[in-house]
């Protein structure tokens, strides 16, 4: 149904963006654009060409061209995604935004920043810091990912408990539609109910409904202080029960409440040669608070810390400076890396369940883990029920056996558990083509039909990022 790229079409692309911004016929250079951060090679797919546009007009022309010749186009940010969103499943053109990396405007009066999609997310915070502002979107890959990818995936991350996810901060978008129209949605407006909310149709559309060329983001006052609590519990149940109490009894909304099961933190602590008495613990919570003064946070960590101690915590550690805070966060950040020593073949899942169901979910995960003899360390954002259950290949299985177990048995069973508990299969990584086959488990047929109708209305030739989500 799609055509192959020919030399003639490539020449037309070169006419639009210039020869230095087109990669063609260079397997080595193209390979870099064939995958994202999903570890399994089977999800990768080679593009036929890569184009690096620098304006909405160029992108519009490329889309018209692609529609004319029926060539699929896959937009790509920094390639740090975890669902295959940027992988060109049907080949064709990968559109990379590495050239569109300018910060267009910092509006201090309206607390808005306007950026191009190829800006590295952390860069935004670096530039607005001096005005006492910050951008609250915070995926874990903040130092490498592009803001365009964050918006496309509606990225979550560690601060979502207090600050929500990316979509909350998107006030406006300049979008090139799959057929090449340029739309100007929203802007520097805090309120806007004029017509359908097309901005939030685009946010999280995983590059299937439109290409962002300008992004308006809401900024917030930069908190002046932060403090972290590392709390050791004897078991998962005790740890999770404290989460709602922090908000109801403590009346505090932490920036993040990260959860680690014993498989996760023990592997990580051993890997880091950490000497806190972690062996006796069965679960850990890492709670981060931010605010305007150390004094204010001192009161808050006392409330939360005492609450934890009264409710069965083994120990509460307080980190209110760079040395100790780094030491605590290292445990959380090194889990995946530490497990790589066991096996690099991991399926990083991001299922969501209602917070109160986490202990039940963990019980079921243990059963699945035992049944298939596959370790499944679980960690993630307890504050919003988003758990990175990560099946890791037991080295006794060959790659083929592992693929079979994972895709045909383990993941479907894991997803079934999640859905039965009132959760869903992806909270922040997205569906892409990695989880596409499982969509019917999570979403009713009528909903999928609505999504298909939307896709068809915007992209009649199915040119933009085909093979994803639905």
């Amino acid at each position: 149904m799609y055509n192959k790229l020919t030399r003639e079409i490539v020449n037309e692309l070169i006419e639009i963006v210039g020869s230095s911004n087109v990669i063609f016929d260079n397997i080595e250079a193209l390979e870099a654009y064939s995958h994202d951060e999903v570890a399994e090679k089977s999800y990768a797919h080679m593009p036929e060409a890569v184009v690096k546009p620098s304006s909405a007009e160029q992108i519009s022309k490329i889309m018209r061209l692609a529609n004319k010749y029926k060539i699929p186009v896959t937009p790509r940010g920094a390639g740090s995604g975890l669902s295959g969103g940027a992988v060109p499943v049907y080949g064709g053109i990968v559109m990379s935004f590495e050239k569109m990396n300018k910060i267009l405007e910092i509006d201090k009066e309206n607390l808005v920043i306007v950026v191009e999609p190829g800006v590295v997310t952390n860069e935004i915070n670096n530039v607005v810091k001096e005005y006492g502002l910050f951008y609250a979107g915070y995926p874990m890959s903040v130092e490498t990912c592009y803001i365009g990818g964050n918006v496309a995936e509606n990225a979550g991350g560690g601060r979502a408990v207090k600050y929500g996810v990316t979509g909350r901060y998107v006030l406006g978008l300049e979008v090139v539609t799959p057929t090449g129209e340029i739309l100007h949605l929203g802007g520097k407006r805090m309120k806007d109910v004029t017509g359908y909310d097309l901005i939030h149709l685009m946010v999280g559309s995983e590059g299937t409904l439109g290409i962002f060329t300008k992004i308006y983001l809401k900024l917030m006052p930069l908190p002046q202080a932060k403090v972290d609590l590392l709390v050791l519990f004897k078991d998962i149940d005790t740890a999770i029960k404290i989460v709602p109490k922090i908000m109801t009894f403590g009346r505090i909304i932490p920036t993040s409440i990260e959860f680690m099961d014993d498989l996760s933190f023990k592997t990580s602590c051993r890997y880091l040669n950490e000497k806190i008495p972690f062996e006796e613990a069965g679960a850990m919570l890492l709670i981060e608070l931010d605010g305007n003064s150390k004094k204010e946070l001192e009161e808050q960590y006392e409330v939360i810390g005492n609450l934890c101690m009264e409710n069965g915590a083994i120990e509460v550690y307080i980190a209110d400076n760079a040395t100790t805070s780094e030491r605590i966060w290292k445990i959380r950040r090194n889990i995946a890396e530490a497990w790589k020593q066991y096996s690099p073949d991991q399926s990083l899942e991001d299922v969501v369940v209602p917070i109160s169901e986490i202990p039940k979910f963990m019980e079921k995960v243990r059963e699945i883990s035992q049944k298939y003899d596959v370790p499944i360390p679980c960690y993630g954002h307890a504050g919003d029920g988003n758990i990175h259950a990560t099946p890791v290949r037991n080295p006794k299985f060959t790659m083929e056996e592992w693929q079979n177990i994972l895709h045909n048995k383990l993941l479907p069973e894991l997803y079934r558990v999640v859905i039965d508990l009132g959760g869903t299969i992806s909270g922040e990584h997205g569906i892409g083509h990695k989880r596409r086959e499982y969509m019917p488990m999570a979403i009713e047929p009528a909903q999928i039909e609505v999504m298909r109708a939307i896709k068809k209305a915007l992209d009649p030739n199915c040119i933009l990022n085909p093979g994803k989500i639905i």
């Binding site: 806190i276 550690y317 307080i318």
Partner: protein
């Protein structure tokens, strides 16, 4: 056993920026922390106390802000603290600093051990520990990696020296500077933090410790920072251009010759 641990509050230097014009560190917005190498001294002191009882007193010379560092050490498990803070102390070099700390330690009195970190991560001199020993005229073990035993007024230690270890026996009281190998610093707990909050930290000036004002501050410092500069690294590179097979072989010979001459292979 009474142990005194002198510590220093230093700027957090993992993300430090340098001012290209002055060659000095940009201190604005930089957080202050306990000198990371002092954490090992604190930990070892707490462990000794836990094993054989006694008291650990942490002292620091610096601005009022250094109270934070003292409180953090107490949260880790030290018992008491003293802050040495006065305008007249400002500008002290390692000699004057050692002099002030030695006077303060003398005032605390009746101590068995002084345990210091190897050096501070900002000044990087490693002189203050030995300086204190010299002002107090006490035996000293630098780069201590293990305390083997303490009894009957004597301490046996192992110290890290070039190419191996050395074991020493010192008469108490003594001064030790310790290396990372000696311990793993603990994290402050909530209980520790709450206890530290209640501990009253006295602030001492020159009069309190009876130190001669001629010997402290900028006036009492024999060293002066005259100029700060970044040493220039010069690299002498030679480009060898390869055009064809023949010049490739010549190039390889040339590189081999160079590596052999420099004793790199």
């Amino acid at each position: 056993m009474k142990i005194v641990v002198p510590i220093k509050q230093v700027p957090e230097t993992s993300n430090v920026k340098m001012d290209p014009k002055t060659g000095t560190m940009v201190r604005e917005g930089v957080e202050s922390i306990i000198n990371p190498l002092d954490l090992y001294a604190i930990e070892e002191a707490i462990r000794l106390k836990e094993k054989s009882g006694g008291q650990v007193i942490v002292i620091s010379m610096g601005p009022e802000k250094a109270l934070e560092a003292i409180k953090e050490a107490i949260a880790m498990g030290c018992d008491d603290g003293v802050l040495l803070s006065d305008k007249k102390f400002a500008g002290s070099d390692t000699w004057a600093t050692s002099c002030v700390l030695a006077h303060a330690i003398k005032k605390i009195g009746d101590f068995d051990l002084v345990i210091c970190g190897e050096r501070a991560t900002d000044g990087d001199t490693g002189q203050v520990g030995p300086g204190i020993a010299s002002f107090l005229d006490l035996p000293l073990s630098t780069f201590t990696s293990e305390i083997i035993s303490i009894d009957e007024g004597k301490i046996q230690v192992r110290r890290l020296v070039e190419g191996g270890y050395e074991e020493l026996e010192l008469k108490l009281p003594a001064v030790l500077t310790v290396v990372k190998e000696i311990s793993d610093p603990r994290l402050p707990t909530l209980r520790g933090k709450l206890r530290a909050k209640g501990v009253e930290i006295p602030v001492w000036g020159p009069q309190d410790i009876g130190v001669d004002e001629e010997n402290i501050g900028l006036k009492g410092s024999p060293t002066r920072v005259v100029k700060i500069f970044t040493p220039k690294v010069t690299r002498e590179g030679e480009m060898i251009t390869v055009n064809d097979e023949k010049s490739l072989e010549e190039a390889v010979d040339k590189i081999m010759e160079f590596l052999i001459k420099k004793e790199l292979i």
